[in-house]
Chain length 328, copies 2
């Protein structure tokens, strides 16, 4: 791999001049410029990003720390972030943590020592707070929120309103006995969605009925069986996300229960599969592209955003009516 000094020697100029030609950081005599360009071509020189980032203290890297890239929602988020990053010449470093605190910490540590320009983090693990407060690079928390941290920025949709919309839609569709499959309550978005559901129940005089589940389809199936046993009159299910909604449908179908005839289902996230499954899943959609792009931009244009001292960027969720609910 050719280095800048070899190029310089070949073009009979100094490395500084080659650098200036490449980056356009200063005027260079036209003839020398041509010699340099020729030498770059001849040697196939590509500047070493590592050396550049050592000096610049920016590796043009965005760290993405996720519970799991296999989760379709996170995969979509990652795709959105990657596209925005790529557009501006940044790369993405992907870290799966399985929500394990130690892995989250290790990943942040590592990204920081890699001169990453920022970290996009999806966790609401309070144990990380001390660490994130002292981190020297910007940290953007997506989809979730940490209690009481003011060094971070947040990008997410309005899960509370989303939860409300889900409950209201089910009520509007005639449901009288709605069960909410709550996600893990340590996760802020799951809390917010649940809060939305709960408040609507209160306002509309509907009994609050809940059941706990992880964001995971095996749990989703188990829990749906429980619902059928516990709540004999259930006619509406709000799932904490689409994966769980799909598994709920599966169990209902297996039990010969008509969806949406007898029980209506609404999910959360609007992953690609929601439209693809049969029947198509009614769900609360998140503008994942906008969320991903905003998170990336907060890092890429951190100087610009440092001026506005907005800490939370909140997007609207939206009801996506499909086939697992029915208007009356």
């Amino acid at each position: 791999m050719a280095s800048i000094r070899e190029v310089a020697k070949l073009a009979n100029v100094s490395p500084a001049t080659v650098s200036r030609v490449m980056n356009g950081t200063a005027r260079v005599d036209e003839e020398k410029k041509q010699r340099v360009l020729a030498a770059i071509k001849e040697t196939g020189f590509v500047p070493n990003e590592v050396a550049r980032s050592l000096f610049k203290k920016s590796a043009k890297l965005i760290g993405l720390i996720l519970p799991s890239i296999e989760n379709p929602f996170f995969a979509q988020l990652a795709g959105a972030i990657e596209r925005c990053a790529d557009k501006h010449g940044y790369r993405l470093v992907l870290c799966n943590t399985g929500s394990v605190t130690e892995k989250e910490k290790a990943a942040m540590q590592m990204l920081s020592s890699m001169n990453a320009d920022g970290i996009i983090l999806t966790t609401s693990n309070e144990e990380l707070r001390e660490f994130t407060e002292n981190c020297s690079i910007p940290i953007i928390v997506t989809d979730r929120v940490f209690q009481g941290s003011n060094k971070l920025k947040y990008v997410h949709c309005d899960h509370y309103k989303g939860g409300r919309m889900a409950a209201e839609h089910l009520i509007d569709c005639g449901c009288k006995s709605i069960v909410c499959i709550k996600g893990q309550q340590e996760i802020s978005s799951a809390r917010d969605r649940y809060d939305g559901y709960r408040d609507v129940c209160k306002e509309r005089g509907i009994k609050e009925q809940t059941v706990d589940s992880a964001y995971d389809f095996e749990e989703g199936m188990k829990v749906t069986e429980e619902i059928l046993e516990t709540f004999k009159d259930v006619d509406g299910i709000i799932a904490c996300n689409d994966m769980v909604a799909i598994s709920a449908y599966k169990v209902l179908h297996k039990n010969g229960i008509d969806v949406p005839g007898k029980i209506q289902i609404i999910g959360f996230d609007d992953i690609a599969l929601a439209k693809l499954m049969t029947p198509e899943l009614t769900t609360i959609g998140q503008p994942v592209k906008e969320i991903g792009a905003k998170a990336a931009e907060l890092i890429i244009f951190k100087d610009k955003y440092a001026k506005e001292d907005k800490q939370e960027y909140i997007f609207e969720a939206s009801l996506v009516e499909r086939e697992t609910t029915r208007d009356i």
Copy 2:
């Protein structure tokens, strides 16, 4: 951020000694070692990975170049690779290319200049051959194959056998008129799967009937409509992947056609959704964890693997019988 020289000053030793303590590269007097350890703790020193990788010419980075992380199969592959990489202290740099040649080239160039230790590439774009041949870091092609390149290594499952298995299973399940939804034939895995189907048709005296489609569910739906118009007696569909199989099911269902009663469907990949959908999708599964881990290991342990001059690592596909086919 503290540097090694500050730690050295605090511990009253040279930077070299601090380096030796951290890496265990040489014996260090026990008392000095303790001083260094204390100084590291006090300053919160974390070695800068960029500086390290500049010297070592290895950034402990694996580049992953994919058409799209949103595709669930690739997301699973990415997860498998990430887990293996992480276990050995490597990070993953994710690049989506949408199969655009220019982006694939740019990503490889960039990864190379980042001192990545290797690249895992999913493409069968022949235009890249010249480039990959001259790349200074190892390139592992997963899931697909390039014609006639001998500098690369390949990790994938036996798509040809997989295609055979799919066709044989449908025949064994009583199908007489099977339509194969071929993936894009520029993609080697799609070619191989199709070849398997074709050969089984020949051997078993079944008419070959095909239709073209991209690996994409909108195409999948469009093409399934076509099948219904063109092949009135169709009773079996082999889809080039699970996404397409799911969309085929959707169209069949919408048309009131019983699956598997009237038409049976088999997909490819065994993505998580295949088990989750209703009815559960029969499919040809790929051992994606093993494929991902092997690809990562070929980079992480490149020295070891350089000795064996095996160029292709092939895994077995397997039939996963579920509910969209029925034994007779």
